[in-house]
Amino acid sequence: MSTTTPEPTTAVGKAADWADTRMGASKLVREFGRKIFPSHWSFMLGEVSLYSFIIVVLTGTYLTFFFYPAMGELHYDGPYVPLQGVEMSQAYQSTLYISFELRGGLLIRQMHHWGALLFVAAVSIHMLRVFFTGAFRRPRELNWLVGVGLLALSWAAGFTGYSLPDDLLSGNGLRIIDGIIKAIPLVGTYISFFLFGGEFPGIDIISRLYTLHIMIIPAAIIALIAIHLIFVVVHKHTQWPQAGNTERNVVGEPVLPTFAAKGGGFFFLVFALIAGLSAFFQINPVWNYGPYDPSPVSAGTQPDWYIGWADGILRIAPGWMEFYIFGWPISMNILVAVIIMVGVLVGMAVWPFFEAWVAKDNREHHVLDRPRNAPTRTAVGVAFVVWYLVMWAGASGDLIAVFFHMSLNDMIYIFRFLFFFGPIIAYIVTKRICLGLQRKDREVALHGRETGRILRLPHGEFIEVHEPLDPHSAWRLVAFDSPEYVPAQADENGKISTAEKWRGRFSKFFFEDRVAPLSKAELEAAHAHNEGHGHHLDSEGNDQDGQGRPLPH
């Protein structure tokens, strides 16, 4: 192969030449080495998701070397005395072996569980960040859909893994899943028998969940993560609105060396966090629960946190929601949990397209919205978070009632009330807060920052000194996207279609209450006004007029 570059002489040079002539490594380094990533703490949430997933894959792979995903019965003869002689499945027995006899086994097991909890949490919070900042807008709608898929897969990965040790707690969780499946009209009973290989619990479910948990679901997650990251490269990262950041640039740190050092270091920090949690905080002590037995159950049990909202719905929904049509049962008291979970995923998936349609906004957005500058979206998001938290807390209704010495029934009534009214209250309050913050931004941009310094003028008037913002700080207060209410528009035939009427209604809902961003003219007028009064102070605190001359006293 002919090359015009001089022959390498150093060892590093030779190695680099070897790699380049086989992989085209220099092109990769050129392409990615100085790629720019904006730096902000909120952008680390996606990194936490990725890193905790890697850690879960590493620890999970180790666990597969020792775990037996089988439900054959045997009698325990290991070192944990309380369970000696007890009949249990191979899955549960091997989990006890990992926990008690394998050196480092309990640590790895706990890291796997803590890592999984952190993974789902990080994915969830990362999606909230993306939602509240409008990062899902064009051109990133597809990547948002990939994210919705990853969220659903993270639940599936968590739940299939949670059930594997075949302990009493997870077995009851599986039984609840069986009850939910049986509630599905027409096909529920069949799905249940196919999933469990016959009646619950059967002897197949652990090995089937195992295949899903260690192969199908992780493979799907890895594939979606790959697509997710390729999209990040194609789109380049979004950035916060601040001076110097535009829709046509990206400002931040180059991959080599700064971002790689920070990101790589952060991977180790997440790893250390999970290791530290696993060293000092016990998670899922299956030996306390005993092997699965369909008859006993312990009170005050909690599912892993991400299943909590589904469990909460099952507790909040009243029994009369189950009804019969010609004798065929429609168990809405149970199905409502499925409907809400699927509905939330569908709602998330369509949101970017819905919002773009309502706002008639087909532009690319690379500069993020500050949440206050999209008051309706932010209010809808907070309403959803409150709704989710009500359902989630519902799964702890019994514990909360005991803790506060309340009636359990009253607790459920409170949750039923909050299920409907919590989100409405949250919506109204959040929207008012956003509009208020926008007005404050406007005020600050117009008149400057309140310094808290009270000045008495020669004629006796007291004023508070306002310090004008420098243009860099003022920029993000005045330069933001603010869609306006666009009423339903007639098409070329002069007709207003039904869809357009609906768009108009939604547009009114979204954008009628609006604090307009400051125009340049308003800002200049305000500055002129301030100059007229001349109530600015220079850095030494001397009273100045607009031109920096001391004021005549």
């Binding site: 706990q110 194609v234 700064t258 696993s278 189950e322 149970i334």
Partner: protein, 341 residues
């Protein structure tokens, strides 16, 4: 870096008529200005990396020194020391790298321009040309017979992949309607798991106010004992007959104030394990469905709809409690075919 600087026209930067003032002036850090502070950070970073090495050593030493299987306490100690070692080993590298990056590496912000995501006009034209050429060379548009049969074949081909899943399990049949309980089957005490020799229960063993967890004596008769237990688990309670509010039709389903109800919640199947002696309520610990034992376990609160099915019981000639029949109603969660027999 300056070569990457995107020259932006001012109208691209304008938002709401305001002109973007551009990046603020870079402020040097202490490490940029004072060499002694720079050296201090250098030592600090190295210190973190040394801490990491110590953590690794701690992990290896604990791994060799402690055999966790000996006792519960040793297991906990092993976990704590291994975890501490791993935490320090990872934390040292992580903090060291970040302190290094934040304080010693270049912190000038770099600007890169964004490019159009879509291809150029030329790219698009060539792409369209390639697709056209493929269409032409394959003749897929000109040969509808081939195209349509291919579509039909592709649509049908996945069906075998669906149909093989029929083998995942047997059809439900009448399994959800039957349990091991039958006429004359004796009640045995549920001592946990599947007992080898179930202990039987006499009527006089049950005192007023007591609650007994019960399984059928023939629990080993089914294919899988756990499957049978999952359907047949029963709660037995003895209540002062004056407090029982029995339906005349079911008056002979109880014996001397002893009533037996399915322990499997009619909501989603958790064991209804909590009995309140004062109120005679059964409470499901999973979702708080509450059943009134004195009123044939009707639902008085919570998400369940159907009452817990009652097992008709009596005593046999030897004084043992026995079932009169199977449960007249299906046990466990509601399912689609529940009213079909």
């Amino acid at each position: 870096m300056s070569s990457k600087e995107h020259t932006v026209t001012s109208d691209e930067l304008d938002v709401n008529g305001h002109t973007n003032p551009g990046l603020p002036e870079h402020k040097p850090r202490l490490t940029d200005t004072y060499p002694e502070i720079e050296r201090r950070f250098e030592r600090q970073v190295a210190g973190w990396f040394v801490l990491s090495m110590l953590g690794t050593v701690l992990f290896i030493v604990s791994f060799i020194a402690i055999e966790p299987g000996e006792s519960y306490d040793l297991m906990r100690l092993s976990n704590t020391l291994l975890g501490l070692g791993a935490t320090l080993a990872l934390l040292g590298i992580g903090v060291g790298a970040i302190v290094w990056a934040k304080n010693l590496m270049n912190d000038h912000e770099v600007t890169e321009s964004r490019h159009d995501i879509h291809g150029s006009e030329e790219d698009r034209a060539i792409a369209v040309e390639i697709i056209k050429q493929a269409k032409e060379e394959s003749g897929i548009a000109r040969r509808p017979l081939i195209r349509n049969t291919l579509i039909a074949a592709l649509a049908l081909a996945p069906l075998p992949a669906v149909i093989v899943f029929r083998e995942l399990g047997p059809l439900p049949g009448d399994k959800l309607f039957n349990t091991l309980w039958d006429q004359g089957v004796r009640l045995a005490i549920d001592t946990g798991g599947i007992p080898e020799n179930p202990r039987l229960l006499r009527a006089e063993d049950v005192t007023i106010g007591s609650v007994v967890h019960v399984i059928p004596e023939n629990i080993h008769d089914g294919d899988h004992a756990l499957d049978e237990k999952a359907k047949a688990a029963v709660l037995l309670m003895k209540i002062d007959p004056d407090e029982l509010n029995e339906d005349p039709e079911r008056a002979d389903w109880s014996y001397d104030g002893i009533v037996a109800y399915s322990k499997i919640c009619t909501h989603v199947g958790c064991p209804v394990a909590l009995y309140e002696h004062q109120t005679h309520h059964l409470l499901c610990p999973c979702h708080q469905s509450t059943f009134d034992v004195t009123d044939h376990c009707k639902v008085i609160f919570g998400p369940a709809k159907r009452p817990l099915p009652q097992l008709p019981i009596t005593v046999d000639s030897e004084g043992y409690l026995v079932a009169q029949s199977d449960f007249p109603d299906p046990v466990g969660p509601t399912f689609w075919e529940i009213n079909t027999r």
